[in-house]
């Protein structure tokens, strides 16, 4: 009897266990070739038609209720990798770390519809991602692969003028983009005055750009967040990669420190124009009539080491150092202009339990520029600097199968050196110093919940509390975030989002063009934080499992926008904020994107139709002058239409052809409408043609369009891989406007004595293009 009872009890318990097991599956998904964690990899449970994605550290956690089987299937997938199906035993807690293999080259992998499904199912909208492997296929300027410039080919991310890396996302200024590299802020992501970005594609693992629907963990900028993650380094074997191009060379070395446990990566690049110009200058050193050629170079270095301290702990240390140097010297003067970023990051990942994961980060960031000039007996130095020290902790808690919480807290200490000027004579009889130093503390705390309300309806709601203190001024505010997704069918999802953002730092720029001499300035008692509210609605369609079509509409309100009074004195001004004017703005538009990721031919088409206005500016100084008054005007970057068509065709395993065609409405320019004669006082300077400017940005330049073509020829020598990349930028030699200038047009006239001279007839406008058709070639290698 007892035996029957216990047998029955055991069976009952077993049946109950079958029916009522709650299972938490967690782990890390990695690249099988090099041990890199994979961000956004899909973890899918077919029997339950549910799944999740790995977070930015490759970690995932999913809880299944009432599992009535003894084992379940778990499918892992990621773009560019072979899917992997695992069968795991059902237990309350299961740890499943997976390494995915590629097996074949990127272009040959049939991309399963799962990657589209994740876009459909995610509440994330207004977000663009770019894989560095894709970026390397797309033709680029002078053969320099640039992930930040390539992402500008996606819809809704128009660039500044040709050659510039300034981003003007959904009507926002270029300073309203938060750019983070391994969680450290990059304040100026440009080399060579904006021609190239500071990101070495060989060192980048992932880039994600948010245009709206900002998750609650992000704050500090109004218009976009560009989150760049560096590679961790190959944990399995030592390898290297590099390239030799027309203007720079690069080398990346990575490998295990202890196999499968720790690794390092070092990646650097440098231009070599200056080596050529220095040689020419040296050869002309004895020629008094020879003109010295200015020297210019840039370099950057990314380093990272990481350690798997245990199954639950990982430590990362990474750093970036980049610099641009321009110099010009002669017998009479010595001019140097340098600028650059330096960042450092230390991160500790800890898994408390299968559901709770944390990341604690300390970052350091330093951006500065310095101009020095020495003339006979006199010298000056101008500069500006911003330094940050940041500490934050982020938590990821897979509460249950319906709720995933993210929460965290962080603080940043900012140090500003604004408008530093030191000038004086060598003998000390003339000496001048100016500049302002500020300190500020910025805080942020947030909580967000991704809630599966039903199988079709998911909501991601969050709240961020941010604050900023400077001297005796304290600003704070709540930033609600909300995103929702409704799965209309398995192939159609509807999305909506709302986000409030606040920005406590402002870029002081003397012109519409982003320059390395632009100054970062804190909010103060007179300069309130900028604020934006953005709503967006959209739909995503999966078409025949091959195409992804998205369409979004947005409206953004902008408040406390910073601009400057007419003829603002931004140089060496101790009271810089007296030159500010504060106003409002708004922008709205629609973005369409059609994407194909599968097959031999892949790529996307993007179109943006948008309007942007700014106005109602009031000078901080009551005596200041803002010519537009309270009128609303279009900023220079108000681009009405923006089209991009990108295609990559794998002709054979060794040969890939790629092309990109972009079209954009021309930038706006502020041209004078009248001219007057200004006489001046005795001894002054008369102006026969003094321009009179009235309404801002009254002229639209011609539309910008350009076709870029690229061919990549792969080789497989014994020592590794190499490829020859041939690009033709501006294939049909379109002369796009880089800038416009006005000058007199002269006609010849003759005196009665027959002497011919030139007389000005009229003022003409001349458009200057940056480059014509531009072929380039580069050689890249991997060993």
């Amino acid at each position: 009897m007892k035996k029957i009872f216990f047998t029955f009890l055991f069976s009952f318990v077993t049946i109950v266990a079958y029916a009522q097991t709650t299972m938490t599956l967690s782990g890390v998904v990695k690249d099988g070739e090099n041990g890199e964690t994979l961000i956004g990899a899909t973890v899918y449970i077919p029997e339950f038609n549910t799944g999740t994605v790995t977070n930015e550290y490759g970690f995932y956690s999913i809880t299944l209720d009432a599992v009535d089987k003894d084992s379940i299937s778990v499918e892992m997938s990621y773009v560019g990798f072979q899917n992997q199906m695992n069968r795991v035993k059902v237990l309350p807690e299961v740890r499943l770390d997976v390494e995915l293999g590629t097996g074949v080259a990127l272009q040959e992998v049939v991309i399963k519809a799962n990657s589209y499904n994740e876009v459909l199912k995610s509440t994330e909208m207004s977000v663009e991602t770019l894989n560095p492997k894709e970026a390397k296929l797309i033709p680029v300027l002078l053969g320099e692969s640039d992930i930040l410039k390539t992402i500008q080919l996606k819809p809704g991310i128009p660039s500044g003028s040709e050659g510039s890396t300034g981003l003007y996302v959904r009507g926002g200024r270029s300073d309203q983009n938060l750019i983070v590299l391994d969680e450290a802020v990059i304040y100026n992501a440009s080399h060579l005055f904006g021609f190239f970005s500071t990101f070495n594609t060989d060192a980048v693992k992932d880039l994600k750009l948010y245009k709206g629907g900002f998750p609650s963990q992000y704050g500090g900028r109004l218009s976009s967040v560009i989150d760049v993650k560096l590679k961790e380094g190959n944990k399995k074997k030592f390898e290297g990669a590099g390239g030799i191009g027309l203007i720079s060379s690069k080398l990346t070395l990575e490998g295990p420190i202890k196999k499968d446990k720790s690794s390092f990566i070092v990646s650097g690049r440098r231009t070599y124009f200056d080596l050529i110009t220095n040689a020419i200058n040296e050869s002309n050193a004895d020629d008094p009539d020879a003109t010295q050629i200015p020297g210019y170079y840039f370099y950057d270095l990314n380093t990272k080491i990481n350690f798997d301290l245990s199954d639950k702990d990982r430590l990362y240390l990474s750093g970036y150092f980049g610099r641009d140097v321009f110099n010009f010297s002669s017998d009479f003067f010595n001019f140097n202009f340098g600028w650059g970023n330096a960042t450092g990051t230390a991160r500790w990942n800890h898994q408390f339990n299968p559901k709770l994961f944390s990341n604690t980060t300390v970052t350091f960031s330093d951006y500065q520029y310095e101009i020095t000039n020495e003339v006979t007996g006199f010298s000056f130095e101008v500069g500006s600097r911003i330094k940050d020290l940041n500490l934050k902790s982020d938590f990821y808690w897979a509460l249950n199968n319906r709720h995933t919480l993210r929460y965290g807290i962080g603080a940043t200490y900012h140090q500003f050196e604004v408008g530093r000027l030191q000038a004086g004579s060598d003998d000390g009889s003339i000496s001048f110093n100016s500049g302002s130093d500020f300190d500020g503390m910025e805080f942020g705390a947030y909580i967000g919940d991704e809630w599966d309300v039903s199988d079709r309806f998911r909501v991601n709601g969050g709240l961020r509390l941010s604050a900023f203190s400077n001297d005796n001024t304290l600003y704070s505010g709540l930033e609600p975030r909300l995103a929702a997704r409704y799965l209309l069918t398995d192939n159609v999802s509807l999305k909506a989002s709302y986000a409030r953002m606040k920005q406590y730092l402002h870029l002081v720029a003397s012109s519409g063009v982003s320059l390395p001499t632009d100054i970062w300035y804190p909010s103060t008692a007179q300069i309130e934080p900028q604020r934006s509210d953005q709503v967006a609605v959209g739909a995503t369609f999966k078409l025949w499992d091959k195409f992804l079509f998205t369409n979004e509409y947005y409206y953004k309100w902008l408040d406390n926008q910073v601009d400057f009074v007419d003829w603002a004195e931004l140089f060496a001004n101790q009271n810089l904020e007296q030159e500010f004017a504060i106003g409002k703005g708004y922008s709205y538009g629609t973005e369409l994107g059609l994407e194909k990721r599968e097959g031999k031919l892949t790529g996307w088409i993007g179109y943006t139709l948008a309007w942007t206005k700014r106005g109602d500016f009031v000078p901080v100084d009551p005596n200041g002058f803002f010519g537009e008054g309270t009128r609303y005007f279009s900023p220079r970057y108000d681009r009405r239409h923006d089209i991009s068509v990108v295609a990559m065709w794998e002709i054979t395993k060794r040969l890939t052809f790629s092309s990109s065609w972009v079209y954009g409405s021309g930038d706006l320019a502020w041209l004078p409408t009248g001219r007057l004669t200004f006489q001046d006082v005795q001894g002054g300077t008369s102006q026969v043609v003094l321009p009179v400017y009235r309404e801002r940005n009254n002229f639209r330049l011609a539309a910008f369009h350009r076709l870029d073509l690229g061919l990549i020829l792969k080789f497989y020598p014994k020592w590794g891989e190499s490829d020859l990349s041939i690009n033709v930028i501006n294939a049909y030699d379109r002369r796009n406007a880089f800038f416009l200038f006005l000058e007199p047009e002269f006609a010849e006239d003759a005196t009665p004595g027959g002497e011919v001279f030139e007389i000005p007839e009229r003022i003409k406008a001349t458009q200057v293009s940056l480059f014509p058709i531009l072929p380039s070639i580069s050689w890249n290698f991997k060993f």
């Binding site: 004078p672 007057l676 004669t677 006082v681 043609v689 200038f741 009229r762």
Partner: protein, 282 residues
């Protein structure tokens, strides 16, 4: 092989040819421009009221080079101009008034000489032929003098000298000045800027130059005490002149103190001028 090389060479030449000339002229279409009345009037004790009244033209309109035609195009000679000072009205008559020393031209002037105490308010009124009334206000500035000059020679290049000028800045209020430096004659302007003493300490001012004067050169220092309206206006004029033709300059509107309909531009202000001539010792 030779044929292949020729093709490559030809391609390179063609590439260079098509690559040349990145400039191209473009047509500018802007809304029709309505001329704006421009006033220049610098009130100086010891001189009559002199005013230049002109009008602007479209920026891209053809340039008129004949001086007669040019003046006819820009001068406004049918207005009534007056200045009110302490309830007394001074009429400025229309004519062609050319100062033989400064070669400045004005088309309205008074017969009376200006002689008012610092701080005296002045009000300008210009009635145009179409009935539009323009107005502006200013006040007489305190005199500000250069009380000493120093010539210093370079220790290395001993034949090169610089010039320093000094003066008292006792006024606790913010002062605005325009500092000019000429080399040899008033046609050779070397330094010209406006400045404020708002951020300097002490009650002395000093302005200098670099070591660019040779022995025997004539150094002409001019210090003009100005009002804030002129400081703002002249900065905007310098800015507009700098931006003219400069594609990377940031434009702005001229900061004028002339009020009235039709967006008038210009300056009505008081100035006090001190000019010194110094010869660098041999």
């Amino acid at each position: 092989m030779k044929k292949k090389f020729n093709y490559i060479y030809l391609f390179a030449v063609l590439a260079v040819l098509v690559s040349c000339d990145l400039n191209q002229e473009i047509e500018i279409e802007l809304p029709e421009y309505t001329p704006q009345i421009t006033v220049e009037c610098y009130v100086q004790n010891g001189k009559p009221f002199n005013l230049l009244l002109t009008k602007s033209v479209g920026y891209f309109d053809p340039l008129v080079l004949d001086p007669q035609e040019y003046l006819e195009q820009i001068l406004v000679n049918d207005a009534q101009v007056s200045v009110v000072v302490e309830n007394e009205t001074y009429e400025l008559v229309n004519g062609a008034f050319l100062d033989p020393t400064s070669f400045t031209l004005n088309n309205y002037a008074s017969s009376e000489l200006v002689n008012f105490d610092p701080g005296t308010d002045l009000a300008l009124e210009v009635k145009l032929a179409d009935g539009t009334v323009l107005s502006a206000n200013t006040s007489i500035v305190e005199p500000l003098e250069i009380d000493s000059i120093s010539i210093e020679f370079n220790e290395v290049q001993t034949d090169m000298a610089r010039c320093l000028i000094f003066g008292d800045d006792n006024d606790p209020e913010v002062n605005y000045v325009r500092r000019m430096l000429h080399d040899g004659s008033l046609d050779s302007l070397v330094i010209d800027f406006v400045a404020t003493d708002e951020f300097t300490e002490g009650d002395r001012f000093v302005f200098g130059s670099d070591y660019s004067f040779e022995r025997g050169d004539t150094v002409i220092n001019t210090l003009i005490h100005i009002n804030k309206e002129y400081y703002d206006f002249y900065q905007s004029v310098q800015g507009a002149a700098f931006v003219n033709g400069n594609p990377f300059g940031q434009p702005g509107q001229l900061i004028s103190n002339i009020e009235g309909e039709g967006n008038p531009i210009g300056i009505f202000t008081s100035i006090s001028v001190d000019t010194t001539f110094t010869i660098v010792p041999e």
